[in-house]
Amino acid sequence: MIPSKNFKLYVSILGALAIISTVRLWTDQDALTSSSTIGTALRLTVPILLAGMAGLWAERCGVLNIGIEGMMIFGTWFGAWGAWQFGPWVGLLFAILGGMFGGLVHAVATVRFNIDQVISGVVINLFAFFGVRYLSELVYVGKPGGGISQSPPQKWALPKFNLPILSGGEIAGWKSSDFLGWLESQRWFILGDLGGIGRGLTHSISWATVIAVIVVPVSAWVLWRTRFGLRLRSSGESPVAAESLGVKVNHLRYFGLLISGGLAGLAGGTLSIVASSYYRQGQTAGRGFIGLATMIFGNWRPSGILTGALLFGYAEGIKLVASDSITALFLFIAAIAIVFFVLSIVRRKRSQILVTLVVFILSAVAYRTVSTVPESLTQSLPYVVTLIVLATANQRLRPPAMAGVPFRPGEPH
């Protein structure tokens, strides 16, 4: 019997859990799967995830979006302004609108005027960075707590909730049990990790996080299961063929870029409204580019982007919450590598044998010798991982065929 795809997935998730649980008990680093690490990781995942989805929507309709970072900057500024003036929900709306403005500029420049998509993106990044600085000088300077590089703090925060029964949420005023928290505190093999991860994902969750996570299945459904999505993807794969079948490629690219900008703006909004309570210059800190990296890592697919964003978010989260635990991750990588090493011997894949062995030796040596990983080097992890993925799995990556190629409707091809 050939095991189904889902069965393999469950086995590998369980295997990874078993390994990380063993590593946790071995090294005594409970922070690896504690609910606070996972919770922080989730909060850091959200903007990267949304930025990645922004990249997906743009590239699927055939336009590279280097300007995600700039659109996120618009999102942080306008989101913080809206939240400061009218409250967090309106703030998120303004963040989306701010990002959509960036998307519209990108669309007009690349779709209407056909200029190079990379150039347009780069200019949007510059324009956004200095544009919001100009706006800050006009609006925030002189307000209490505000200045040229930051907004006054917001008065209200978005509500957060805990899931009832599982992680101590309230049902009509009655505080229910915190089952997962109890499970986590027992520190059992695998079950303790499940408790920590589960509680991290369900305890003190902001509604904005829920929205962000919902974006993934909704995007996947719209892009792959609706007529609109098929047409949008076709204008990224083969605009000429799409046009010959009567698809209005340029209209769809406008739509795609508006959605892309809106998602990037929302990503910025979660930074200035959910993750903190004010706008600060440089708040995006290159997350737009991490989002771009995540999109490549995720092979231009929503599920892959979710995986990549969780990975990068987890790496960032563990660095923030428990930087001592990072060395334990080397042991985790070594263990994973040895599993793949054995698998590749069984499957007789020579190229993998060498790679996995090298990874195993490197990470094992790193675990024995490195005591602290310098903060400055861990920052570059998403970028290094993306370059490695690009360099090793380039043949298996499948970007939209015509993303980045200018298209003029009605011209002979």
Binding site: F113, F127, F130, R133, Y134, L138, L292, S380
Partner: protein, 367 residues
């Protein structure tokens, strides 16, 4: 007859460059109008702002500052333009020049040489380091086929953290005791002499020299022809026997080498070392703007860099007179966007008109 064709060709090329200049100038004016509207909407008087820019920018005092601010932009724009000429988008100038600045500043403290040699040594180290960092992107493109746009973006961030790590763990000099930490100061023999005391240093001359060399190498040499041919039509170039991979490697390394010089006017002219807060960032991205505005031509780049330097030099006075100084950068970004759009539109119109004229000429031949 041949003379006739020649003069016709000269006339055509002159008309084309006049066209180019005209479209760039009109684009700049259009951008200023858009910016004026932006100023008006945000409650500032555009005439007052532009008046202030002209009033302060046109004093002889500001002339030197303009040249000083233009210097790194010229290097950065030429680095970007070398890539553009081969259809390579080197977004990585940012990482390349910062990496080169740190390495050159550190290496410069470890040698003792007489003055011109010491300066030369530092400049060469900077160029090698910039080229080395750029070659990573070149190898990734040649060996694994990774688009240089993505790889140079990633390498920018990797460079930033790598530099920070190198600086914090090895090169930092704490003896000064101040908050503003730097590498050890470069000895006087390695410092670039000033052209005008404390206002402008010799790197400006080197920038002009590099612009001239760029013109010779890219527009007047065999190598430059191969470079531009690979950019205009890679398939034709390969058919003609131009080695594509070697061209990629050389073009990106040349670009990185010039990028390595971007921060040198600060490293050996002002700061005499490297410090995270002493060396200005963002020149890599500004260089892209300047290259686009100057349309990859050395004279255009120098002119565009002067324009940006001119605008930058007025920011302090603007701030004093109640107009947010960031408007200068906003103007620059809008100028670039409008220029790129106008250039694209005008080149399409030019191509269409050429095609129409050719069709007309063919018709009159009555074939």
């Amino acid at each position: 007859m041949s003379q006739n064709i020649n003069s016709q060709r000269n006339f055509n090329s002159m008309r084309k460059s006049l066209n180019t200049l005209g479209s760039s100038v009109s684009a700049i004016i259009l951008a200023l109008i858009i910016c004026g509207v932006l100023l008006l909407v945000t409650g500032k008087d555009p005439f007052a702002a532009y008046g202030k820019i002209l009033e302060t920018g046109l004093t002889s005092d500001k002339f030197l500052e303009m040249l000083k601010r233009a210097t790194p932009l010229i290097f950065s724009a030429i680095a970007v333009a070398i890539g553009f000429k081969m259809n390579l988008f080197n977004i990585g100038v940012e990482g390349q020049y910062l990496f080169a600045a740190l390495i050159a500043a550190e290496m410069g403290t470890h040698v003792s040489l007489p003055r011109p040699l010491h300066i030369l040594f530092i400049l060469v180290v900077a160029m090698i380091s910039g080229a080395a960092w750029a070659s990573v992107a070149a190898f990734l493109k040649i060996v694994r086929g990774i688009n240089e746009v993505i790889s140079t973006i990633m390498l920018n961030y990797i460079a930033l953290s790598f530099i920070q790590w190198l600086f914090e763990t090895f090169f930092r000099d704490n003896s000064d005791g101040g908050l503003n930490v730097k590498t050890t100061k470069i000895a006087p023999s390695g410092r670039m002499p000033d052209l005008v005391h404390d206002r402008l240093n010799g790197m400006f001359i080197i920038a002009l020299l590099v612009a001239f060399l760029y013109w010779i190498v890219v527009f007047r040499s065999r190598f430059g022809f191969q470079l531009r041919a690979s950019g205009l039509n890679p398939i034709a170039a390969r058919t003609a026997g131009i080695p594509a991979n070697r061209m990629i490697l050389i073009a990106l390394m040349l670009s990185g080498a010039v990028a390595g010089l971007v921060a040198m006017s600060a490293v050996i002219g002002d700061v005499y070392g490297y410090g995270p807060s002493a060396i200005a960032t963002q020149f890599g991205f500004a260089g892209i703007s300047v290259a686009l505005l100057g349309r990859n031509h050395p004279l255009g780049i120098i002119g565009a860099a002067m324009l940006f330097g001119f605008l930058d030099s007025t920011s302090a006075e603007l701030q004093l007179s109640g107009i947010p100084s960031s408007i200068v950068k906003v103007i620059q970004a809008i100028i670039v966007l409008v220029v790129v759009i106008v250039n694209e539109a005008s080149s399409r119109r030019y191509n269409r008109r050429t095609a129409e004229r050719a069709a007309l000429a063919l018709k009159s031949l009555d074939i």
